[in-house]
Amino acid sequence: MSTDAVHSGTARGPAGPGGPEDIPGTAPGRRRPGLLRRLRRNRLAFTGAVIAALFVLAALAAPLISPYDPARADFGSALAPPGWSHWLGTDDLGRDQLSRVIHGARASMQVGVLAVALAFLAGVPLGLIAGYYERFADPLVSRITDTLLAFPFLVLAVGLAAVLGPSLLNATVAIGVSLVPQVIRVTRAETLRLKHLDYVGAAVASGGGDGVVLVRHILPNAASALLVQATVGVPTAIIGEALLSFLGLGVQPPDPSLGVMLSSAQPYIAAAPWTAVFPGLAIVVATLAFNLFGDGLRDVLDPRGATR
């Protein structure tokens, strides 16, 4: 679907199969400036993208860049303030906060990405079907969606996690399921809009069946809206993970997670504020970065933007 577009995009390059007349640069200004370029013009979005990328990199390379083992206790230096040996200080067991924040980011990203992927796997097909088969499937899918949306996101996630039992995997599933209604909503709305467009009608008139129309014509054109929804879904999932872990429904204590760190910092907030400040800051910065990136992406992908 979107990979199709990417493939044909690369085929247009100078080495494309267009024959000798296909000289690059013969059609100046025909192509839209690249996505990255346009994103870079939007300062806030670009900053968000860079921070989000750093966050992802840190999560991926956590074992390599952490100065200490996040689980190693050192009672001799418990609750040490930030300093040269422990940049972000230590917690009540003398564990290095920087290492724990980095590993916590790993748990956050894991939940963020997996939960959003899960939500899309379930939500996109349902949204497509609900939007396309308006008469038959939509009433059922939309009533279920409405029911789920009646619960605030975090309440739904906490409820599901409580039912499933405390573990990182269950937290991921709970958050993923809680994100599904929003994904259905966005996909359905896009499908409803796109299915009345002329090129969808033209595809039907040239013999296209429902599958072709949905997968080749509607889904790729809904991709930009879905991509934005995905970038907005990640910070939501990160907050969800932090909350579930804080409540003891997600990552289980000795394992590091931003939520677990906040939870275990509670008794020491007055005496050692850094134990709460840094994981909290990490959640705020990561969430903000992804949201700015998502907003910027929305502006950049909007075809009514500056490119026309």
Binding site: S8, R12, G208, H217, N221
Partner: protein, 359 residues
């Protein structure tokens, strides 16, 4: 209708009627098309003309089987003798784009913005002819050349936004004729294009008809396009055929007052100066009134309320398409018929006594 034309027809429509179910508790059904019959032979261009809202587009969608499920379609649509009215969706899908295809009015929005034009043409080829990706791309480039797009080797990998409106309509034509369909329905294919581009697209249509022997149903309200392109003309009014004639006959001697009104409403060069010279107010002669609502298909002439020649007969009985008295047209194989109790003669005066000729 005459059977000699019918036997060679590739598309044969008989007594087609379409109605849409009204809102529940509302004004009731809307009868968009009522008792329409026509034939199209291979290599022939049939123009369907009429004001907006007279059922032209609904007719084309009904022939393609593309109307929404709220529409009730009656009558017969036969493609090479195969009945399509009431055929199931699977059978229709195998016909659409392969044996019968359609070009829409809006070239700017009828192409998928995220697929290259080569892929959109290729999609039809791969679906109906089972070509591979590479062959489909090759054939797409050939088709682009057929429809008059320069540098097809490069254009085939371009996206719709890189093409102008006229080029996009040519691409739409390439999609439509990719599988050499027997019938091509063009629903106002040039309405959204400027005049120079229009001529180019019409030339492509003409060339396709000659090269491939495609039967073309051209839906339009542009009488200039009709004169330029069509062999026969079907004039529709309020969902019914009111006149059906070879194009020369229709323009030379319109029989139905509505057709006459349409022709009179075309602005002519020098018309303003001539009117002023004769001391008249320079204005186009429009047809007074509006197309009636289609809640009922009454048993009378639907044009009577707007017709200068209407009398009691017109408002009490429905006229059927028949050859009016008077000189026969130039083509005896394609008779000139009109649904009028008082068809106009060569001088434009209404005839008196068709009442006796009527059954």
């Amino acid at each position: 209708m005459n059977d000699t034309a019918g036997s060679t027809a590739v598309l044969r429509v008989r007594d087609l009627s379409v109605s849409f179910r009204g809102e529940e508790g509302g004004d009731g059904d809307v009868h968009a098309v009522d008792g329409l019959s026509f034939d199209v032979a291979p290599g022939e261009v049939l123009a369907v003309v009429g004001e907006s809202g007279c059922g032209k587009s609904v007719t084309s969608l009904a022939v393609m089987g593309l109307l929404p499920p709220t529409a009730r379609v009656g009558g017969s649509v036969a493609l090479r003798g195969r009945e399509l009215a009431g055929a199931d969706e699977k059978e229709l899908r195998s016909v659409r784009g392969r044996e019968m295809s359609m070009v829409f009015q809006e070239p700017m929005t009828s192409l998928n913005p995220v697929l290259t034009v080569g892929r959109q043409i290729g999609e039809v080829l791969r679906r109906h002819q089972g070509l591979g990706r590479r062959e489909a791309r090759q054939r797409s480039a050939e088709l682009l050349e057929t429809v008059g797009i320069p540098d097809p080797g490069r254009r085939v990998d371009e996206y719709p936004h890189q093409l102008s409106g006229g080029m996009r309509q040519r691409v739409m034509l390439a999609v439509a004729v990719a599988c050499d369909p027997a019938v091509l329905i063009a629903d106002e294919p040039t309405t959204a294009l400027d005049v120079t581009v229009q001529a180019g697209v019409l030339d492509v249509l003409g060339a396709l008809r000659e090269r491939l022997g495609t039967a073309i149903v051209l839906i339009t309200h542009d009488l200039g396009v009709v004169a330029h392109t069509a062999d026969r003309v079907l004039v529709m009014y309020a969902g019914r055929a009111v006149e059906h004639a070879p194009v020369e006959d229709l323009f030379a001697t319109p029989r139905h007052p509505y057709t006459r009104g349409l022709l009179d409403a075309v602005p002519r060069p020098g018309g303003r100066a001539a009117a002023l010279a004769e001391g008249r107010r320079p204005r186009l002669r429009e047809i007074p009134g509006l197309v009636p609502g289609l809640e009922t298909q009454p048993d009378r002439c639907t044009f009577a309320p707007r017709c200068a020649h209407a009398d009691g007969l017109c408002t009490s009985r429905r006229p059927l398409l028949q050859a009016p008295a008077g000189p026969v047209g130039e083509r005896p194989d394609a008779p000139h018929t009109a649904a009028c109790w008082h068809p106009l003669d060569v001088t434009g005066a209404p005839a008196e006594a068709t009442e006796e000729a009527a059954p």
